[in-house]
Amino acid sequence: MAKKILLIDDEEDFCFFVKNNLERESAFDVITTTSGKEGIKLAKKIKPDLILLDILMPDISGDEVARQLRTIEGIKETPIVFLTATVRREEVEAKEGVIGGYPFIAKPVDVEKLIQEIERHISK
């Protein structure tokens, strides 16, 4: 059974291309949403194998989403990888305490690299 990836990102276009690219280049099923709240609901419902989470989002910020997800039974253990356009390692590091040392991938990101990263985190 194909692994399910939940992508929460407010950029709808980004979601569109990532979903298409990933599904074509890999065996993952990609479910996308542009809203943090929606993402949390979806996560409860579909129980993804990995969650890709944008940090800066209009409704709820990525770290808030992550915090809430961690409170949900069955999703507590699901790997979360941040996708961020704010790049800097130290920025993310500064928030480590808050978001529990989640790994991140800087935007923009190659399809190949993204697949590699996802596979790496799922297999852990």
Binding site: E11, F14, F17, V18, N21, A85, T86, R88, P108, V111
Partner: protein, 684 residues
């Protein structure tokens, strides 16, 4: 040497001037003196000679007077002899019974007879042969002074005569009437004249013959030769040319050696006026029988009372050549003239010597002015005279002293000014530092604001970039190998999107340079790590990197990630300047000196460690000189549009500045570039 010359010249100058001045004065004084001396000497001489000559003339006059008196006395004596008287009385008896008219008639007849009578005739013989006549003739022989002597009776008829007289009747003659004087009788003297009967030049002396009742019984007349009166004058001489001259009332010479009496004038009629009017006692004339010679003349009248009474004017004159008379003063003048040059020489010499007396203090003063002029204000002026020079020297000394005190105060003032300037400089430095700090703060604020803005922008840009890249990946798969044109276009879009992403990354870096987390760190390890990060690029271009790192370096105070970024930037630039390979030399060492610090600001504790220096040298194309001053400007780049965004060196500089370090670029176009970075160490 020149100074010495000048001094000597000055000395000579003043001396010569003094000497010249004195000699001029002396010359004038002497000329005036000699002139006055000559003039007064002449006057004095004139007066003296005049007086002397006059005295001599008087004496000669007196002698002449005596001669006259003698002659008169002689005549008187003769005329008063008894024998003569008896003879005359006898003659008078003849007239006793005759009336005066008959007497006169008789006498005139006899006179006529006498004149016509031949010398040998009885009449003449009768008279001249008488005893008395023979006696009278004897007298004229014995007494050569008497040229002729005869006696008349009371009526004027001849009684006896030394020789034949021209007339018999004498009562009509002036001398007879004068001597008879109307019966009173007196001595008559007639002026010089040529006596025809005697044949001599002489004077007539007529004396009445009187009886015991003092009545005139006859008149005796004698002609006394002029020679008789010249005796005192003969042979008289004064000096070489001085001689005596006897002059008659008309100015004719009665006596002059070698000149016949009454044949020549003594002096011109006009000059004779001086004598006859007695206006000048002595005078000089050129107009005389003595040719072409000035003569000095004095005179005295022969003042025998009888002469005066008979109005006879004789002048005894002393004549001497004026040249001889005034010779003494002339000699004086000559001597003065001759002496003058010698005196002037002596005066020049004395003045020259004398000038030393006041040159010396002047020289001392001069030396003093020189010393003081050269700044030796302590030099003491040693002039010990009481005159103006002494006063001058004194006031000069005072001036030097005042000058000194004012100089001292100027020095103090200068020192104060220097101190104030120093303080000012320090203040300025402090101000500059503050200003710099302020600028840095403002810069930091700006950078912070920029950082905030840049991260916002970056986020907004990066998201679409991510979408574009994902979109390209998507499209790439839709158009596989056979659509080469599409895949090429997509590759180009992808490259540019990545480039835009890099720009954003650079902007973020640039905006965050001010935020430092400084820790002591090993600079060598930072260099190694940074070099590792660009290793594959170096290999790609065939660049050989060499590390020369000092092991004993102190820890540098750095934000490791920032300095890493600096090194990477520098390495990238070096790599880009060597597209066809080259050498990269990386060196680290400790600076020989601390950064130059003002002594007073220096902290002497060991804390002030020397900074570390990192040199990164390439053999690339170098930087043209015209770019050197713009090299650190943001967005300045010489690389191709694909090469970079021009923020690298500007970011580098900002980071080094934030570390309070130094970055220097040395470059020679075409040969290579050397970047020198200096960073503070612990305690630095």
């Amino acid at each position: 040497m020149a100074e010495e010359n000048k001094r000597t010249k000055f000395k000579l100058n003043i001396r010569l001037r003094t000497a010249l001045f004195f000699s001029l004065v002396a010359f004038i004084v002497m000329v005036i003196g000699i002139g006055l001396g000559y003039f007064n000497g002449n006057r004095l001489l004139y007066n003296t000679v005049t007086r002397n000559h006059f005295e001599i003339s008087k004496q000669l006059t007196a002698a002449t007077n005596r001669m006259i008196d003698e002659a008169v006395k002689k005549v008187k004596v003769y005329s008063n002899s008894i024998f003569w008287k008896l003879s005359v009385r006898g003659a008078n008896l003849y007239y006793e019974s005759m009336d005066p008219a008959a007497v006169k008639q008789l006498l005139l007849e006899r006179d006529k007879e006498w004149i016509d009578a031949s010398p040998d005739g009885p009449l003449i013989k009768k008279y001249l042969g008488s005893t008395l006549s023979r006696r009278l003739a004897k007298i004229t022989v014995e007494d050569e002074s008497i040229a002729e002597i005869f006696i008349t009776d009371k009526e004027g008829g001849l009684v006896a005569s030394s020789r034949r007289t021209s007339d018999f009747y004498q009562a009509d003659e002036e001398w007879w009437q004068e001597a008879f004087s109307g019966g009173d009788g007196r001595i008559f003297i007639g002026d010089v004249e040529f006596d025809k009967s005697a044949g001599v030049l002489g004077i007539t002396i007529a004396s009445p013959v009187k009886n015991s009742e003092n009545e005139i019984i006859g008149i005796c007349k004698a002609v006394v030769g002029l020679k008789q009166f010249l005796k005192p004058l003969q042979g008289f001489k004064i000096g070489e040319t001085g001689h005596v001259v006897l002059v008659d009332r008309n100015g004719y010479l009665l006596y002059h050696r070698g000149i016949e009496p009454q044949t020549a004038r003594f002096i011109s009629r006009r000059d004779f006026q001086n004598i006859s009017s007695k206006t000048k006692r002595g005078f000089i004339t050129t107009d005389s029988y003595m040719h072409n010679k000035k003569i000095f003349i004095t005179y005295a009248q022969v003042d025998n009372p009888l002469f005066l009474e008979n109005r006879i004017l004789w002048w005894i004159c002393l004549a001497q050549s004026a040249e001889e008379v005034f010779r003494p003063t002339k000699r004086l003048l000559l001597q003065g003239a001759l002496l003058t040059p010698f005196l002037i020489l002596i005066i020049i010499f004395l003045a020259y010597k004398f000038s030393e007396r006041f040159i010396e203090p002047i020289e001392t003063l001069l030396a003093a002015t020189e010393k003081v002029g050269k700044g030796d204000l302590d030099y003491e002026v040693k002039v010990k005279t009481d005159d103006e020079l002494g006063i001058l020297a004194n006031s000069f000394g005072k001036m030097a002293k005042e000058l000194k005190s004012s100089t001292v105060s100027i020095e103090r003032l200068n020192r104060e000014i220097a101190e104030r300037k120093e303080a000012e400089t320090a203040l300025k430095e402090a101000y500059d530092k503050l200003k710099q700090l302020q600028t840095q703060l403002i810069q930091a604020d700006k950078m912070k604001a920029l950082g905030v803005m840049v991260s916002g922008v970056a986020h907004e840009v990066k998201n679409p970039m991510a979408i574009i890249l994902q979109g390209i990946s998507f499209l790439e798969k839709l158009y596989p190998e056979k659509r080469k044109d599409i895949s090429d276009a997509l590759r180009r879009i992808q490259n540019n999107a990545k480039r835009a992403d890099e720009i954003v990354r650079g902007l973020i870096d640039f905006s965050r340079t001010a935020e430092l987390k400084v820790r002591p760190d090993d600079i060598n390890s930072v260099l190694s790590v940074s070099l590792d990060l660009v290793k594959h690029r170096l290999e790609e271009k065939g660049i050989e990197a060499t590390l020369e790192l000092r092991e004993d370096l102190p820890k540098a105070l750095i934000d490791r990630s920032k300095i890493e970024q600096v090194f990477i930037n520098v390495f990238f630039n070096a790599i880009q300047s060597m597209p066809t390979g080259g050498k990269l030399l990386i060196r680290s060492y400790q600076a020989r000196r601390r950064r130059r610090v003002r002594r007073r600001d220096r902290d002497d504790s060991e804390a002030g460690g020397r900074p570390v220096v990192i040199e990164i040298e390439d053999t690339g194309i170098g930087i043209p000189e015209e770019h050197m001053d713009k090299i650190f400007d943001p967005f300045f780049t010489t690389k191709s549009p694909r090469g970079g965004i021009g923020l690298g060196l500007s970011v580098t500089k900002n980071i080094i500045d934030a570390h309070k370090g130094l970055i220097k670029i040395q470059s020679e176009f075409g040969k290579g570039t050397r970047i020198i970075i200096t960073l503070k160490t612990v305690g630095g």
